[in-house]
């Protein structure tokens, strides 16, 4: 695999991954927001408690979304890519050619 191939596939994986993550996080937090607003509409005096719970749950889901963001960034920067063949890397280059 050439250098540009690694970079290209890294960008592809990161882009598709980030899009899917935003889908999931948006759905989850939207559901929580909807139920919270409905709950406050039914019982306005519980507004403070519901608001606090909503923010905590939204922050937890957002935390998971940020996990996936970190993984996308790792894919983008090719952190686990093997070293590219260079004049001083004869054994690494040989191993790479053998794949």
């Amino acid at each position: 695999m050439s250098e540009t191939m690694y970079i290209g596939i890294g960008y592809l994986g990161a882009g598709i991954g980030a899009g899917l993550v935003i889908l999931g996080a948006g759905l989850g937090i939207g559901k929580i927001g909807g139920s919270a607003v409905e709950g406050i509409a039914r019982q306005p005096e519980a507004g403070g408690d519901i608001r606090t719970t909503m923010i905590i749950a939204a922050a937890l889901i957002e935390g998971l979304a940020f996990f996936a963001l970190i993984i996308c960034l790792l894919a983008l920067m090719n952190f686990s890519k093997p070293a590219v063949a260079a004049p001083g890397n004869a054994p690494v280059a040989a191993a790479e050619q053998a794949h």
Binding site: I55, I56, A59, L60, E62, G63, L64, F66, F67, L69, I70
Partner: protein, 244 residues
């Protein structure tokens, strides 16, 4: 966003770097140690406003976060939780001023904070129930005997995962905001490379207000993430102290 190393200190065979994030942590630490007691004990009339503000936050930590989760005798943990809350809050906010850096945008800093939480959870559980009692509290009551060996590793992994999640949540929230800000500002340069006038008249009117809006969102996220970190630490410590 990157950690610039200013100097190196040779200590016991290690070459310790003095970097921008470390200097920011020192500034926040000095601020908390020097400025907050001065606010409390000063007799100047102008300090009343600052004292009320700090007192509101401390009471919010004690009554809003510790009383529901740790119970009434959990209020003796207030100093640690207040330290945690103010430290994270000011470190997050210091990244938004010019020439400042977000120290919590360094995964080493958030890993150290979540390790402190891990120690707090385990040590408070051991202090409350004893070592054997704390290990027994991992498996809830009323569970059939044959299921206990399966539940125990799952609970331990859950504890490690919760600590790891605390670390990554704070780090990614802080560094994500700065990465978005960086990308928006770099768009101006990208557009200017294509065509100078497209860059000046096309990109700047869009990107600069967008960067301003993202910065305002960053202020909210800074306060929210400090609150979430402290509140989750309180919840986990409460779960270790009173395992129902």
């Amino acid at each position: 966003m990157l950690d610039h190393v200013y100097a190196r200190v040779q200590l016991a065979g290690l070459s310790l770097p003095i970097s921008k994030h470390l200097v920011m942590m020192w500034i926040v630490g000095a601020g908390l140690i020097i400025i907050l007691p001065w606010i409390f004990r000063s007799r100047l009339p102008g300090m009343n406003l600052a004292r009320t503000a700090v007192e509101t936050l401390v009471l919010f930590v004690r009554d809003g976060m510790l009383a529901p989760t740790l119970g009434e005798h959990g209020k003796k943990y207030t100093p640690y939780f207040c330290t945690l809350f103010f430290f994270i809050l000011f470190m997050n906010l210091l990244g938004l001023v010019p020439y400042g850096a977000t120290a919590t945008g360094n995964i080493a800093v958030t890993a150290a904070l979540s390790l402190c939480t891990f120690l707090l959870i385990n040590l408070s559980g051991v202090a409350e129930h004893g070592v054997v009692g704390y290990l027994k509290s991992f498996v809830p009551h009323g569970v059939p005997g044959w299921m206990a060996p399966f539940l125990f590793p799952i609970e331990v992994i859950g504890l490690l995962a919760k600590t790891f999640a605390l670390c990554v949540r704070l780090f990614a929230n802080m560094i994500g905001g700065h990465i978005v800000l960086l990308s928006l500002t770099t768009m101006i340069f990208i557009f200017s490379d294509i065509n100078f006038y497209a860059g000046v008249f096309g990109a700047i009117p869009v990107e600069v207000p967008m960067a301003l809006f993202i910065s305002l969102l960053e202020v909210f996220v800074a306060a929210l993430q400090a609150y979430i970190f402290t509140f989750l630490t309180a919840i986990f410590t409460g779960a270790a102290l009173h395992p129902h």
